[in-house]
């Protein structure tokens, strides 16, 4: 792995906003780790600026957001914009948590690649990430 070969997939799992429930984020973090990925976990109550700065410093290929507070319409577009401003527009942006069906199109429009709702099998998330960034 350190011989100049394939790149290990690095993922930032972030919880932007004010909700204090990070069980989902931790379950995802563990599943990704168990799939051989390096997961940077930032803890609760992150501002969009903190999420983007962490993504920049950690040079992740994936940013997985967990938002249960309903604040995704304001938080997600800001995070996507900051990522682009930092030259990380190519980062795979994923959103999990509680996102009403009618909000999904606007999230995709904002730059999210895929929204994973409650009850998603973590293996599907792993597979999705591997397919999208496996060869980069």
């Amino acid at each position: 792995m350190r011989d100049g070969g394939e790149r290990v997939i690095r993922v930032l799992v972030a919880k932007p906003g004010l909700d204090g429930h990070d069980r989902g984020a931790k379950v995802i973090a563990r599943a990704l780790r168990d799939a051989g990925m390096e997961v940077v976990y930032t803890g609760l109550h992150q501002t969009p600026e903190q999420v983007a700065e962490a993504a920049l410093q950690e040079d992740v290929q994936v940013v997985a957001l967990s938002i249960l507070s309903g604040a995704h319409p304001t938080l997600v577009p800001r995070i996507a914009r900051l990522l682009r401003e930092n030259g990380q527009g190519d980062v795979l942006l994923l959103l999990g948590g509680i996102v009403p069906e009618q909000d999904v199109p606007s999230m995709l429009e904002a730059g999210v690649s895929r929204v994973f709702g409650p009850g998603t099998d973590t293996r599907d998330i792993v597979r999705y990430i591997q397919e999208r960034v496996g060869d980069s």
Binding site: R2, V40, E58, D59
Partner: protein, 321 residues
Amino acid sequence: MTGAPVLADDVLAGQRRAVSRALTVVERGGPEAEALLQTLLPHTGHAHVVGITGAPGVGKSTLVDGLALAARGQGQTAGIIAVDPSSPFTGGAILGDRIRMQDATMDPGVFMRSLASRGQTGGLSRAAAASLTVLDAAGFDWVLVETVGAGQSEIEIMALAESVMVVLAPGLGDDIQAIKAGILEIADVFVVNKADRPGADTSVRELRAMLRLAAEPPPWTPPILTTVAAERRGLERILEELARHRAFLEETGRRAERRTHQVETLVRQAVWDAVARRLAAAREDPGWARALTAVAAGTRDASGLADQVLRGAGGMADGIH
């Protein structure tokens, strides 16, 4: 490969995105990493590289966060490398040091990177050596490298630092015992963190007693400092003692020695990388399986085959009938 000089220029200019990219490149290793490091190395030597280690739960991350902010308070900048273990089973890792570095990491004069151990001892110290080379070349005044515990690879990483800080906390019971295994000898500064808790005095006393056991007074006696990192108490004092230690290294010529050691680590790992590439190429060789069979049958010796692998000439089954 053509990107390396451009990337190096941007790193030297302290451009954050470039620093981040460069860290990824050097961590991965290989020819691109070596080219980049070679360009950056002549520009290193400015940063004061400090290794911070100690048992889990003593407050290392909070302390590093506070130290970085204290350095900022003095108009200085800080780069941070935090090493976390990878799972030996999956190779994956959860890197959680940022959770306790929320304050410093948003400062434009601070850059923090999590580094997974990826299960390879030598590889880890090479990745750490390369990472701190990048941060040093990027112009940070302080480079803080944080690792957990006292394993062999941690000791190797600490040997890359100019100053080693061993962190303890009262009430963990066996922490003084734990640091006996090799870490005690490499400490340049002791910090008893969480010093507002009962037992801090005892920890300081035990450390002092242990340092007195030395047969003759060492050229540098590690100071024992107390902090409450969560309240940002005692941090400026640490920076002062670290600066004093650096002056000591400078005066006694030891600073150059440590730098030589750091460069040696890079070279040594470049050798391992080259060997790993040769071995990988040999295993791809169509004659590899036959060559191994010949070794098993005794018609060929293992070291001869090894020599051939190292020469990288291919043709593994040549001469086998």
